[in-house]
Symmetry: C2
Subunit: 415 residues, 2 copies
């Protein structure tokens, strides 16, 4: 089944608004084993919209559109589909009644411009949109389908999951897709590419490599008549990846994140966590705070953005004086101090320098390379640390250090 | 001048990778007054790539492509342009020498597959790419231009700013575009829409409204033969927006962010800042830490993720007992405690509850609505606070609270 996406709306062509819907739909189509071949963004221009939809309907089995279902004169998706199919839009009594009811429920009269949201053409059915106003259209003619969905991401995602995906799956019943993602950290994209060269030649499963903030993801997609057969296709590829890359570099699978893995490890052992961070500026705690259930283990973080304040937070001034603030002994002592400050089971600390020495630089700091970090860990049984060094650019280094710190903590607690 | 964008790469159609380049280029084209009409994503398939580029070259004055300039057999942008123009690719000695030099500098031999990155066709010139490997192509034939740029965002943005935009501007000399963005917080999109209805009808300047994390942005774009004339067109629209919306709701302009505004205010007055945050989990400090020069004013943040630990950080236990942790008096005391903890000139605190009461809820907390926050401020002259209440969804509330806290701080310090 060949598909294409048409994202409709002049705001998508003006910059400012990112077209997240097509990325969402692309990921979803991959899961359904549908071959996405084209993605087009087009403005609210009747001529170009007609051209885009007509071309799509002709060359693809399924065309998914987002946007243009509002009530204004700029919303032209229905009109364009009607024109492509050569059919007339007519108001549907039931749909109109439902729409008027929605507005009554909101306590305002329905503007007459909204009437067009209650129309259909003979070849289209309405797709319910309970969390928005405009219903979608499932329009089918000559064996080709155009599915028109609303622009707001929440609405299109719900409509997709509840109404459209099941229907497309039923149209494509003898195809099952299984995806397996292995997440790595510590080996470069080029290095992984070399280790796995033969696997990249495979057509089924297909292996993709994606560079992300939390490392390099290896994603295998297998297509087969049933899910079991697809899963069986993945097994040898996964085994070979693990053999070639090594378990040390593979830190997670599928939807795992460094944060969710940390939460799982701490949760399993019933451990609480206290953090001390300097240049990461609160990003480490903030990332952990986003995990569901973080209140179960995260006690807090002392974000000490200036090294001279470390002592006031319980860090041994003698160590800082002797080694400078970016050193394994200091990282370990920061972790110990964090553990004490929050009365936690585990202490985690990140020190380091993200940019050139500032006005408050000391001798040792001036000698430390940009991007150097030490991560410290502390439990009741002792302390530990690991070094790290990251690429330039402020936010990248912070994000990298956070990932590295969490993966390091998981390993430290597991050993 | 009519333009279109073709983003090339199968990974863009598989989900997983967001096409940020087309949004970047769309914003940039709007600044140049170039009419962007089409944006297409296409995979590394020779047939479809040829179709997309041929159609684009024919119907648009300028086609911008991103991706497909690498050395592998999947990188087909040059080959496709050559096919569209009906010309042959030939290796250019100077370009090859430069490429080999790049690899020598990295200490590795150049793989022979990279040779194609040293090719041109008669109708193309090379566009330098000093921060990457592959040069771009400026290919011009029959009065239409195809500009082929690399996929990695850093590389395409540099190439655009330094090489491509100036050249396109020179091709479009009698058009000047001036953009003016006013950033608001506190009024809904619907409310602003109503206040400014007549302005949205204007074609030049054109007014756009964009809902962002830090509020609602109102962006006016004016087109005229010269920049001065374009700027003069904006003046009455800006005046009317300020009159209708009111200066209280407008917190910034153009590239301002709540973080940059906070940094400016604190920097101007030579003030240092200490923070205490609970449910925002470190996001407030982390956002401020990203601002250039944050080391000049940000001392640190006590991220106290559990209310029972507030007392250990210097907050008056009696207040918490009497009012519960989410209250203006507690927010003010947290700000005072933060100021003291870090020996700062200014203390900023955010308390509040982002989600349903957890296992550690107290009586008062159970009575507080989801999304309620108090923001506290402290200086040597006293304390202050403001309430806030935000939409659901964990990250939204945190982000919203951070924006609100910073804008509140700026106002508190200015009064």
């Amino acid at each position: 089944m060949r598909a294409e996406i048409v994202s409709i709306g002049t705001e998508l062509l003006m910059g400012e608004t990112v077209d997240t819907n097509s990325t969402y739909l692309a990921t979803e189509l991959a899961k359904l084993g549908v071959d996405l071949r084209w993605v087009t963004k087009v403005g609210d221009d009747p001529g170009r919209l007609f051209e885009a939809l007509e071309r799509a309907w002709t060359r693809s089995d399924v065309t998914l559109t987002s946007g243009g279902l509002g009530p204004t004169s700029d919303d032209l998706t229905r009109e364009s589909i009607a024109q492509v199919f050569g059919e007339e839009m007519t108001v549907q009594d039931e749909m109109l009644k439902h729409l008027r009811g929605l507005f009554a429920g909101r306590g305002t009269p329905m503007p007459e411009t909204n009437v067009k949201q209650a129309t259909l053409i003979p070849s289209a059915e309405a797709i319910p949109n309970p969390i928005g106003t405009a219903p979608g259209w499932w329009a089918e003619k000559n064996g080709h389908v155009i599915v028109a969905m609303p622009g707001p991401p929440r609405e299109i995602q719900r409509m997709w999951s509840y109404e459209v995906a099941p229907r497309l799956k039923a149209m494509n019943p003898d195809v099952a897709i299984v995806t397996r993602t292995l997440k790595t950290f510590g080996i470069s994209e080029g290095g992984l590419d070399e280790m796995l060269t033969p696997l990249f030649k495979s057509e089924n499963p297909l292996l993709g490599i994606y560079s992300k903030q939390d490392g390099i993801h290896l994603r295998a997609i297998a297509t087969a008549p049933t899910e079991d057969e697809a899963r069986r296709l993945i097994v040898p590829m996964e085994r070979e990846i693990r053999r070639a890359v090594g378990d040390d570099a593979i830190w997670g699978e599928d939807d795992d994140t460094p944060e969710s893995m940390t939460a799982a490890v701490l949760g399993q052992r019933g451990l609480t966590l206290g953090i001390m961070e300097s240049f990461t500026g609160g990003l480490l705690a903030s990332n952990l705070a986003e995990v569901e259930g973080s209140r179960g283990f995260l006690l807090g973080s002392a974000v000490v953005y200036r090294d001279e304040l470390l002592e006031g937070h319980g860090v041994d001034a003698g160590l800082i004086e002797e080694f400078g603030p970016v050193h394994e002994r200091v990282a370990e002592d920061m972790a110990r101090a964090a553990r004490k400050l929050f009365d936690a089971d585990v202490g985690l600390a990140v020190t380091g320098i993200a940019n050139s020495p500032g006005p408050d630089s000391q001798g040792q700091r001036a000698g430390v390379a940009i991007g150097t970090t030490w991560v410290g860990f502390a439990t009741k049984d002792g302390v530990g640390s690991i070094p790290g060094s990251y690429p330039s650019s402020r936010l990248r280094i912070r994000s990298r250090a956070v990932t590295h710190a969490l993966l390091g903590l998981i390993r430290f607690l597991s050993d």
